[in-house]
C-alpha cells in the first residue's frame, strides 16, 4: 500500500465483498450473518443447526466462490489491460490485443463440441489462449521490423483468425444444445463458478497478477521506447515476454472461468490513470483493486437486477461502452 488511494480501494473492496455476501435470491438476514460470523470467529452461540447448515452452504459454497471469482477476474483483466497499454505504448489497447481472448473462446467452443468433459473444455480454453498469442508473436518474429508494431499487427491477424475458426465451430455445432451453450458462454457468466474451480484458479491468477504488478517500473521505462529502456539496463525482450506470458495466462484463465467479459481491461486502467496518474508502479495495483471492485459490483447487478440473471459480459459492455465514450474526452491528460 504505497498510497492512500490503494488503501481506500482495498477497504472499499473488503466492504463490497462482505456486502455482496448478503445479497442474493435467498435472503440471509444480517442477524443470521452476524450470528454465523460470531460463531465461526468468536465461538459465540450457534444458530439452529439446520439453518446454520443452509446459511453456511449459501454463503461459503455458492456466494463466496462467485465473489472471489468476480474479484479475481476483474483484477486480472484490468491488470493485464493496464500492462498491455504500457507495453504497447497505447492507452487504447485491451488484454485481447494479441488474440488471447479469441483463441481462448475458440478453444472453449471446440472442446464443447468435441467433448462432454468440463475439464477438457477448460484445458482447451487455456491452451488455445496461448496458441493464439504464440501465433501473434510468431508472425511478428517472421517480419521483425519494428517489433511492437509487428506484434500489434500479429495480434490483429491472430485474433481475426481464431474468430473465424470460432464461427466455423458455431456453424457446425448442434443448434439444439451445443450452439446455445457456446453462445451463452461467449456472453460471459459467473453462474457456473463453484468452489472447485475457484480453488484451482485462485493461485495462478494471484501469482499472475502480482508478477505483472511487480513489473511496473520496467513497464514505465519500456513505454518510453525500446532503446531508451535498453540504455537504462533493461532486458527488453525478457521483460516483454514475461509480461505477455503472465498477462496471457490470467486473461485465458478468466475466459476459462467466466467466458468473454469485455471492456473491463480497457476502461478500468483508464479510470485509474485519471485518478492516480500513469506511473505503473502505482497504477497497476490501483487497477487490480478497482477492477476487482468493478466486476464484483457488476456481478451483483447482473444477478440481482432482474428475477433472471443477465450474462455479466453483456452488463460490462452496456455499462462500459457509454462510460468509455464519456471519459475519452478527459482521458487525454493521462497519456498525451
Amino acid at each position: 500500500m504505497k498510497k492512500p488511494v490503494h488503501f481506500l480501494l482495498a477497504s472499499l473492496l473488503v466492504v463490497a465483498a462482505l456486502f455482496s455476501l448478503t445479497l442474493g435470491q435467498y435472503h440471509v438476514p444480517i442477524k443470521d450473518f452476524l450470528a454465523l460470523a460470531g460463531w465461526r470467529i468468536f465461538g459465540l452461540e450457534q444458530l439452529h443447526q439446520e439453518k446454520a447448515a443452509l446459511v453456511k452452504n449459501i454463503l461459503f459454497n455458492i456466494r463466496l466462490p462467485r465473489i472471489i471469482a468476480a474479484m479475481l477476474i476483474g483484477a486480472s483483466l484490468s491488470v493485464s489491460g493496464g500492462a498491455f497499454q504500457a507495453l504497447f505504448i497505447n492507452p487504447l489497447v485491451s488484454p485481447g490485443l494479441l488474440g488471447v481472448l479469441a483463441g481462448a473462446s475458440f478453444g472453449a467452443a471446440l472442446a464443447m463440441v468435441l467433448s462432454k468433459s468440463w475439464a477438457l473444455v477448460q484445458l482447451s480454453t487455456l491452451l488455445f489462449g496461448f496458441v493464439a498469442v504464440g501465433f501473434a508473436i510468431g508472425i511478428a518474429k517472421v517480419y521483425r521490423i519494428h517489433s511492437v508494431i509487428m506484434l500489434v499487427l500479429g495480434g490483429i491477424i491472430s485474433g481475426a483468425f481464431f474468430t473465424a475458426l470460432l464461427s466455423i465451430i458455431k456453424y457446425t455445432a448442434d443448434p439444439s444444445d451445443q450452439l446455445p451453450a457456446i453462445v451463452y458462454w461467449l456472453m460471459g457468466s459467473l453462474s457456473a463458478v463453484d468452489r472447485g474451480t475457484v480453488s484451482i484458479i485462485s493461485a495462478p491468477l494471484l501469482i499472475g497478477i502480482l508478477v505483472v504488478i511487480f513489473h511496473g517500473r520496467q513497464l514505465n521505462i519500456l513505454s518510453m521506447g525500446e532503446e531508451e529502456a535498453q540504455s537504462l539496463g533493461i532486458n527488453v525482450r525478457r521483460v516483454r515476454l514475461t509480461v505477455i506470458f503472465f498477462a496471457t495466462l490470467i486473461s485465458a484463465l478468466t475466459v476459462m472461468v467466466g467466458g468473454m467479459i469485455g471492456w473491463v481491461g480497457l476502461i478500468i486502467p483508464h479510470i485509474c490513470r485519471m485518478i492516480v496518474g500513469p506511473n505503473n508502479q502505482t497504477l497497476l495495483p490501483a487497477t487490480a483493486f478497482m477492477g476487482a471492485l468493478y466486476l464484483l459490483l457488476i456481478d451483483d447487478i447482473s444477478r440481482l437486477l432482474f428475477t433472471f440473471e443477465i450474462p455479466i459480459g453483456i452488463v460490462t459492455s452496456l455499462i462500459g461502452i457509454p462510460f468509455f465514450a464519456l471519459v475519452l474526452k478527459n482521458a487525454q491528460r493521462g497519456w498525451r
Binding site: 514505465n220 518510453m224 521506447g225 539496463g233
Partner: protein, 265 residues
C-alpha cells in the same frame, strides 16, 4: 589520459546498406565531442553501436578497456546514459517519474524507490534548474525542459558519459543556447558528452573536438577550428561557407549566400 571509449574498425549495415565502414574513433573522459555530417552519414548508428543497442558486424567497441559486449547492460547503464531525441508518444509521467527512471540500474526486481533515490533525483533536477517542474506531466513541459529532464535522468543514472542524439532538435533558439551552455557547465565537472548535431556553429561553440562523418566513414577528427573549415563543410554539404573568428572569442560558420542565390528585393 587513456581512452574511455574506443571504436575499432567498426562496420555495420542495415540489411544490405552499409551504414558504418571501418570506423575508428576514441573518446577520452571529460571531453565534449560533436559528430557532424549529413543525414544518413551514420552518426546515429555510431551512437547506438557505442551504447550497445546495435551490435557491429565487424570490429569492436571497448569501454574502459573491456569489450562492450562483455559488459552487462545494467553495469553499462551506470556509466553511459542515452539522451534520445525528444519524443511525445509516451504517457504523461511526471517529470520526477521520468528522472527517477534513471535509478533503474540500481534496483533489484522487487525494490521500490527509496528516499535516497528521490534525493538523488531531486539533486539532479536542482542542478538543471527544473526542480519546479517536479510534479508537472512530462508531456506538458516545453521541448527544452523535456530535454533537461532527460539529462537529469542521466545524472540520476550516475552516468559519466552522455550520448545525445541531436539534443537541440526541435528547440527554440533560447532553449538551444541554454541547453548547450548547460552541457558546457556539466563538462567542467568531468562528464563526457558525445553528441550528434546538424549545426557547425554548435559544434564550434561547445566541443573540444569534432568528428566529421560522411557515408559511414570518419573523414576528419580533431580540434573544432581544424575540422570545421570552408573546404570540409563544402565537402560534406555542398554549401559554401566562411568560417570567421568573432571578437577573438569564438568562431562562426556562415553560409555565403551568393553561391546559391538569394531572393532579390
Amino acid at each position: 589520459m587513456s581512452a574511455l571509449i574506443t571504436v575499432e574498425q567498426v562496420g555495420f549495415s542495415y540489411r544490405k546498406r552499409q551504414v558504418l565502414n571501418r570506423v575508428n574513433v576514441s573518446f577520452r573522459s571529460g571531453e565534449v565531442v560533436s559528430l557532424l555530417g549529413p543525414n544518413g552519414s551514420g552518426k546515429t548508428t555510431l551512437l547506438k553501436v557505442m551504447l550497445g543497442l546495435l551490435q557491429p558486424d565487424t570490429g569492436e567497441v571497448f569501454f574502459a578497456g573491456r569489450a562492450l559486449k562483455t559488459v552487462s547492460p545494467k553495469v553499462l547503464a551506470r556509466r553511459i546514459a542515452y539522451v534520445p531525441q525528444i519524443h511525445r508518444e509516451a504517457f504523461a509521467y511526471t517529470v520526477e517519474d521520468v528522472v527517477l527512471m534513471g535509478r533503474m540500474p540500481y534496483h533489484t526486481f522487487f525494490s521500490t524507490n527509496s528516499p535516497v533515490d528521490r534525493e538523488i533525483a531531486a539533486a539532479a533536477m536542482e542542478k538543471l534548474e527544473i526542480a519546479h517542474l517536479r510534479d508537472r506531466p512530462y508531456t506538458e513541459v516545453s521541448g527544452g525542459e523535456r530535454q533537461l529532464a532527460l539529462i537529469a535522468r542521466s545524472l540520476t543514472q550516475g552516468a559519466d558519459v552522455f550520448i545525445m542524439d541531436e539534443p537541440v532538435n526541435g528547440l527554440d533558439y533560447g532553449n538551444q543556447m541554454r541547453l548547450l551552455s548547460g552541457i558546457r557547465n556539466l563538462a567542467k565537472e568531468g562528464l563526457t558528452f558525445i553528441m550528434t548535431t546538424h549545426f557547425p556553429d554548435h559544434a564550434l561553440m561547445t566541443s573540444d573536438r569534432v568528428i566529421l562523418m560522411q557515408q559511414g566513414a570518419v573523414v576528419a577528427d580533431g580540434l573544432p577550428e581544424e575540422t570545421i573549415t570552408r573546404e570540409t563543410i563544402f565537402a560534406l554539404y555542398r554549401i559554401d561557407v566562411d568560417v570567421v573568428a568573432v571578437n577573438g572569442n569564438g568562431r562562426v560558420c556562415m553560409p555565403v549566400w551568393s553561391t546559391y542565390g538569394r531572393a532579390k528585393n
